[in-house]
């Protein structure tokens, strides 16, 4: 049994933002619930109000246009993203990261935005979004601001979001469409598991980026690499950027070793 809370499902955007302005501090947003309800059950979070974002008008759209890029909404589930052929064609790295997230029925509920606002160091979507230069459109009653994902995460489970704000849209820029890339996630088992380390590598227009999860307090981006850079220099850049810890899943040294291993493999595999 979950501890008591009220449930609200506003349908209008203005009504939703007003509710957040009023109750943001003691409320939590519900999208897929695959983290939130587990946290409430475990007593980690104790909101007095849970606000369902899925019924807000326009909060479930997933769209693409050559001018605006790919727009992802709070209601967009991981499987919505995976079922979209256009996403698979234009952003194969997003599809690959999404596919590695949890199990099928969790992917039916878990959302892309939920996976990043939780700011877990082991987020599966963050490495792809960081590599692709995605931006967060953050809204509140006070107005709207845009934050690139490279500035979005502030620490373990911490982001730039204020209690009255919602990440209303992710923009994956059209300029990143066609980027080649791949994702490697180390797990304890073949089936669904949290990542021990995750490494995404993206190549486009002579440039190369790495997005790495579970190896620092936040998912991290390593930018400014040139396609064709030597293996040693890319590995050195990755080693310098990460700061893994030892925990119940594995040791710090193993994480360092596997990041290095995945970087080397991806350099060969991503043509």
């Amino acid at each position: 049994m979950l501890q008591k809370f009220e449930y609200a499902a506003p349908t209008g955007r203005a009504e939703f933002l007003s509710l957040l302005a009023e109750r943001g501090a003691d409320s939590k947003l519900l999208a897929g619930g695959t983290d939130l309800l587990v946290n409430i059950r475990g007593g980690v979070m104790k909101p007095s109000l849970v606000v369902d974002v899925k019924k807000v008008a326009g909060f479930s759209a997933l769209s693409w246009s050559a001018s605006d890029g790919l727009l992802i909404s709070p209601g967009t589930t991981i499987n919505d993203l995976l079922r979209d052929r256009g996403v698979a064609e234009r952003f194969p790295l997003l599809t690959e990261c999404a596919h590695d997230l949890a199990s099928y029925q969790v992917r039916n509920r878990a959302t892309v935005i939920g996976n990043v606002v939780n700011a877990s160091p082991c987020s599966d979507m963050a490495p792809a979004l960081l590599c692709l230069g995605a931006r967060a459109v953050i809204s509140s009653k006070r107005g709207q601001r845009e934050v690139p994902f490279v500035d979005f995460f502030k620490g373990v489970k911490k982001t730039v979001l204020q209690p009255d704000e919602v990440l209303e849209r992710i923009i994956v820029p059209a300029s990143s469409a066609g980027a080649r890339g791949s994702y490697r996630k180390l797990k304890r088992i073949n089936g669904h598991d949290l990542g021990i380390v995750g490494v995404a590598l993206m190549k486009k227009d002579g440039l190369m980026r790495l997005g790495i999860s579970s190896s620092a307090p936040t998912p991290i981006l390593i930018d400014g690499l040139k396609e064709g850079a030597s293996e040693d220099s890319v590995v050195a850049a990755a080693r310098k950027a990460i700061s893994p810890i030892s925990d119940l899943r594995c040791s710090k040294e193993y994480r360092e070793f596997m990041v290095e291993t995945y970087v080397k493999r991806l350099l060969k595999e991503v043509a």
């Binding site: 309800l37 369902d52 029925q105 039916n108 509920r109 089936g191």
Partner: protein
């Protein structure tokens, strides 16, 4: 308290619920449909898997309030007119049920898998049921049942599936 209307296995129910009540609890305690089980309560084990508007979900991580206006299908709706479904018959034939605790959720995931992929490979079956834990069978018989239900079980190979 709030009132929700939910269609479960073809029957419409209107009930008063609390905001913090899960769909799982609603199905089991309010409607008495105890075929859906609680295992971990955290989305790991899949014993609580049901269909919500045609997609499988872990009902322990869905609020009953979210199901307002939705169509839910549970294991109780799998057999029709007293006859087991093809998936249930295949589970029966292949001894894919031991203690039975995971079976309701497992059958839901298999139905979803065969709906989107009528001839899954062994690897695709493993992926399709990765969110459903079975602590009895070691999965061998379940995988055989899915191969059987999809018309792919070769009798000569029974019991000798190669695990990658």
């Amino acid at each position: 308290m709030m009132r929700i209307t939910v269609n479960v296995n073809g029957n419409s129910y209107a009930r008063d619920i609390e905001g913090h009540e899960t769909l799982l609890r609603f199905l089991r305690e309010d409607l008495g449909l105890t075929g859906t089980k609680e295992g971990c309560g955290a989305g790991e084990c899949g014993a609580c898997t049901v269909f919500m508007n045609g997609r499988t979900v872990n009902s322990c991580m869905v609020l009953a309030a979210e199901a307002d206006g939705c169509t839910i299908e549970t294991i109780e709706g799998e057999a029709r007119d007293g006859k087991l479904s093809a998936i249930q018959e295949a589970f029966d034939r292949n001894h894919a049920v031991q203690c039975g605790y995971c079976t309701g959720g497992m059958v839901m995931s298999v139905r979803e898998l065969l709906h989107r992929n009528p001839k899954p490979t062994i690897d695709e079956i493993k992926e399709g049921i990765e969110g459903n834990f079975c602590r009895c069978t070691g999965y061998q018989q379940i995988i055989e049942a899915v191969l059987d239900a999809s018309g792919q079980l070769v009798p000569a190979n029974k019991g000798e599936l190669k695990y990658a």
